[in-house]
Amino acid sequence: MLYAWIDDNGMLCTTFELQSVPEQFRDNVTVFENLNIQDHDKLYVENGQIKEKNESMIIQEMKEKLSMELKQKVYSLLQPTDWVVVKCVELGLDMGVAYPEIYQRRQVIRQANDALDSRINSATSINELMDIQKDIEVLK
């Protein structure tokens, strides 16, 4: 059970128990019997009405979120060796020759990024996206 209301600041609020709904909003609370305390993100507000997102909306949001997480993760993996790229450009070095291991590792990261990005874009279910999220988290 999830109780939802819009507070004085126009904020969508949810709770799992009616007693936690501020008294002034109890008459306007919307009850979602099939949702629980973890499901705040499954709701949205449209024209002042609290509605439950359908699966395609949730999938789309998850895709956007995962794309951002993937970018951040890949950035954080590449960033520590960016100096090698700068050095090779400055000195006119062939990175694949001067730093083959780092070059290879960056290639692997980029390939993983491309593969995961492709999987995100083509995913059609929430479970599929949750698997991708796990793969992003363990990417190294």
Partner: protein
């Protein structure tokens, strides 16, 4: 009844009535207007007497009405009543201290000795810690009773360890604590108060001492030197030393400064803390999962603290630095509640609750995924709201069924 007091009226009272009326007047005066009620006709005058035959008391009419002569006029009655003290009669009170012939009863000594001696008995030295006395006196020589040993040329003090009576010899043998006895023993005196009567000797200012904590009881350190208060607690004006078990509590509890809440949870996805809070408070919180450690079994997802048991859409900004088996990372995310952990966690965080600034910050270890065993995460979450009151500390929400413990101590 002699209250027939008829005034003689000139021109009205006939001569024939005169004898009777004068006799009535004289009788009323002679009997002090005796009767079982006060005279009313004619109206009484100040100084008039009345003897109440029903009460057997003499009254006088005063400016404030009829008053008993003995009490109101002379005060003598009141003085006598006061002199009774707590006894029902003055005679009984006098009997406490005075004989019938007026002599005083035998007085007690104002300076009695604290030592008494068995008279008519013979004390014999046995060893420096043993003496005997004829007769059965184990009731006198009980353990810990103080003794004054009168030796030939000195006095020694010790106490009884034990005593035993030999009926064949009709002799009591006494063991003393200290080796102070010498031969010969002139006499042995014992303390007038037996240790058996020391039941209240543990009292300080009227409070007993006991190893069992209870209201109005002084608790000593135990055998290990620990002040064990068990279910009770210590409180000062500024700090409370107490742990309260709020596991499965159903209503919010307001922690005092210093007080700590303990909550255990098992195989659940949410734990309402049931802790009331208010602006101006600060807490230290330990969230410890005891699910099996490892590189798998964790569901990717964050752990949240929902203030007021509520989510507020996109109102919480989360900053983190973390190091997993890959490398160091950082993030800046928006959430609908305070994030305070991830997957399975051992988290230590501090909660700041001022209505104008509300924050959760801390450090945690994540486990349950291939790259997070361990994973060190330093974080801070601000609730970007400066007006909403935080009145209930809230609910911890997990991404999967979790077990463990939560400790919340109020610091401010």
């Amino acid at each position: 009844m002699s209250q027939t007091y008829e005034t003689l009226v000139s021109g009205t009272t006939t001569f024939g009535q005169l004898y009777g009326k004068i006799n009535n007047l004289a009788e009323a005066l002679r009997s002090c207007f005796c009767g079982n009620s006060f005279p009313t006709t004619p109206s009484p005058t100040i100084g008039q007497l009345c003897f109440r035959t029903d009460l057997n008391k003499l009254y006088v009419f005063t400016s404030s009405g009829w008053k008993e002569v003995a009490i109101e006029l002379t005060g003598l009655g009141a003085e006598i009543i006061n002199a009774r003290g707590t006894k029902p009669t003055l005679d009984q009170r006098l009997d406490v201290a005075m004989n019938e012939d007026g002599t005083l009863k035998a007085s007690t000594s104002l300076n009695p000795s604290q030592w008494v001696s068995l008279t008519g008995y013979t004390f014999e030295y046995v060893t420096p810690t043993t003496f005997t006395v004829n007769g059965s006196h184990t009731d006198i020589y009980v353990a810990k009773r103080r003794l004054k040993i009168n030796l030939l040329s000195s006095i020694a003090y010790t106490e009884v360890v034990s005593s035993s009576y030999d009926s064949n010899q009709d002799k009591t043998t006494v063991q003393t604590l200290d080796a102070v006895l010498d031969d010969p023993i002139v006499s042995v005196e014992h303390l007038i108060i037996s240790p058996d009567n020391f039941n209240n000797a543990d009292k300080v200012d009227g409070y007993h001492a006991s190893q069992t904590p209870a209201p109005n009881v002084i608790v000593p350190l135990d055998a290990n030197g620990i002040l064990d208060l068990s279910a009770t607690y210590v409180k000062s004006n500024v700090y409370t030393f107490r742990r309260v078990d709020l596991t499965d509590a159903t209503s919010d509890y307001m922690l005092q400064v210093g007080e700590e809440a303990y909550i255990s949870f098992s195989n659940t996805m949410s734990v309402p803390l049931r802790i009331a809070t208010q602006s101006g408070t600060y807490y230290e919180c330990h969230l410890v999962c005891n699910n099996t450690g490892g590189t798998s079994g964790g569901t990717s997802g964050s752990i949240y603290l929902n203030p007021n048991n509520t989510t507020y859409s996109d109102s919480f900004i989360y900053a983190e630095l973390y190091r997993d088996s890959g490398m160091a990372h950082s993030n800046y995310f928006t959430y609908s509640a305070f994030r305070c952990g991830h997957m399975f966690v051992s988290s230590l965080f501090y909660i700041t609750n001022f209505v104008q600034y509300k924050n959760v910050k801390g450090i945690y270890d994540i486990y349950g995924l291939s790259n997070t065993y361990p994973c060190l995460d330093i974080f801070s979450t601000d609730w970007q709201d400066t007006t909403t009151s935080w009145t209930s500390l809230g609910t911890i929400v997990f991404p999967q069924n979790s077990s463990g413990y939560i400790l919340v101590q109020r610091i401010l």
